[in-house]
């Protein structure tokens, strides 16, 4: 039996009285592109952050390449994180650094590569996401939202990670730029042969990126299946989400808890 690249078993996490992850079970195979869909506040981001160790789950198991990661010491975790690249929702570029320094950050600080060599790679990665070398010396504040996302993507792939996480990659972008980002994601993941996990509530994005789709609701995975089965899931929750209907089993929470 092949070991899944990422495996979450019975993962729980709560913040105060709010149970955010409520027994998550999910496996991602090596080289697969999994998209996790779900509404706001259903636990998508918390799940990703738990895998990365940015949050510690209350209970349950998270394994990467068969190795339990929930109790790693900080140095071991840093080593484990070399396998990961992540594109954050707001790009999360370091605004005290130039664009190329952002892209090369993991290479210089993490892999201790000489700056000149890291800059060459950064410029090449910027080229891979459709940005010219003239952008390299700019500061992130001088870029549009779409360009920032591309730089974030270049940073995520710079160290050629085995696993890439995409947190709402198309949020806040116009439909054309969103499609450009989706295509770049598909291309970059294919070129690297990486395992990808994307969380989104944008169905166009999910259909374009996913090999497999999982739906999260109230902190649990309620459906998983191939991307082409999403329209025939036979699950009322998935149908309501995919078609964006107000009526259905998912009741929007109007008041804060």
């Amino acid at each position: 039996m092949t070991v899944p690249k990422i495996a979450l078993k019975n993962v729980y996490k709560h913040f105060g009285p709010k149970k955010v992850l409520n027994g998550i079970d999910l496996e991602v195979a090596k080289g697969e592109s999994l998209v996790v869909i779900g509404g706001s506040g259903t636990g998508k981001s918390v799940m990703l952050k738990s895998v990365l160790g940015l949050l510690t789950p209350d209970s349950g198991s998270i394994q990467v390449d068969g190795v339990e990661t929930t109790r790693l010491r900080s140095r071991e975790r840093e080593k484990m994180l070399h396998k990961f690249g992540m594109l954050f929702q707001g790009a999360a570029l370091f605004d005290s650094l130039t664009v190329w320094e952002n892209v090369a950050f993991g290479l210089i600080q993490g892999a201790h590569m000489p700056r000149a060599q890291a800059k060459e790679i950064a410029v090449a990665k910027l080229g891979a996401v459709g940005l010219g070398p003239d952008v390299a010396e700019l500061s992130p504040a001088e870029l549009s939202g779409g360009m920032q996302k591309r730089v974030g993507l270049a940073r995520a792939i710079a160290d050629e990670p085995e696993i890439i996480f995409f947190d709402e990659p198309t949020t806040g972008l116009d439909p054309i730029m969103a499609d450009v980002i989706n295509e770049l994601i598909v291309q970059c993941v294919k070129d690297l042969g990486a395992t990808a996990v994307t969380i989104t509530h944008d169905m166009a994005s999910a259909r374009k990126i996913a090999d497999r789709i999982a739906m999260i609701y109230e902190g649990r995975i309620i459906w998983t299946g191939h991307a082409h089965d999403i329209d025939n899931s036979g699950n009322a929750y998935v149908d309501q989400f995919v078609h964006g209907r107000a009526d259905g089993p998912i009741k929007m929470q109007i008041k804060a808890l």
Binding site: G53, K79, G85, F88, L93, F94, F105, G106
Partner: protein
């Protein structure tokens, strides 16, 4: 019962905050002495704290020294003790006013900037991004600021001491008509190494506290712009109060007569 519950809750919150600050300090200190180090970050922070704070600290020290000479003259002349002015100025500046006023000015300038920068990094997920790039945020963000605060504020205070004493000299010689040579003589006459050293020890501790409070409040800021604003205020207020409290404690240690 309601009153007791509220008191208990406040006390628990206080204990929790103290524990969190102690853990944060311990972790940050351990990262200050364990490699890898980030010399570029340390240099950047040193320039920010040491070089760019020079004008504000210098001006504060100059006018403090000047006003100290004027006030001492108007007070001491009542009992013909004008000769002690130079000594009063140099001792007040080196022991107390140099480190405390420089500390408070740096807390306002640097503590606020640190909390705002790190707080913004927190709410825009830049700190999470650092972690995913295999870089420990305590090591990359906090340790360089602590090292820079600890080393640069004493240097600033050396400058503040010199400028403050010079301010007193200017007023003494050009406004109060003291003889320049005798003013300088008087300045040196009763000055002891411990006066300057105690001020520099204070400055190092103040620098550390300012950076610690800036980093701690920024690192734990929540929400958006409002959270960053609150972190900035808390950083400056807590650093200022700690400076005043520690100033008393260190003075007690150095100059206790009992």
């Amino acid at each position: 019962m309601g009153f007791l519950a509220a008191t208990g809750r406040a006390f628990l919150i206080f204990l929790e905050a103290t524990g969190r600050l102690a853990l944060f300090t311990g972790s940050a200190l351990s990262h200050c002495v364990r490699p890898p180090f980030y010399p570029r970050q340390i240099l950047r922070q040193m320039i920010d704290i040491g070089y760019y704070s020079l004008p504000v600290v210098g001006l504060t020290a100059l006018f403090t020294g000047m006003v100290l000479a004027l006030q001492s003259y108007s007070g001491f002349s009542r009992f013909q003790a004008e000769g002690a002015i130079a000594t009063v100025v140099v001792l007040s500046i080196t022991r107390e006013l140099g480190p405390v006023l420089a500390g408070l000015m740096v807390a306002g300038r640097i503590g606020a900037a640190m909390a705002a920068e790190i707080g913004t990094m927190r709410v825009t997920e830049q700190i999470d991004a650092l972690s995913t790039l295999s870089t420990n945020p305590h090591k990359y963000l906090v340790a360089p600021r602590l090292i820079a605060g600890l080393t640069m504020v004493p240097l600033l205070v050396v400058v503040a001491d010199i400028i403050g004493v010079f301010g007193g000299f200017l007023v003494g010689v050009y406004r109060l008509d003291f003889n320049a040579a005798s003013y300088i003589n008087r300045t040196w006459e009763f000055l002891q190494p411990v006066d300057v050293i105690s001020g520099l020890v204070k400055a190092a501790i103040f620098g550390f506290l300012i950076a610690l409070m800036g980093c701690y409040h920024g690192y734990h800021s929540k929400g958006g712009a409002q959270g960053v604003g609150a972190a900035t205020t808390n950083a400056v207020v807590s650093a200022s109060i700690m400076i005043l409290v520690w100033n008393y404690l260190i003075t007690g240690l150095f100059f206790s007569t009992k």
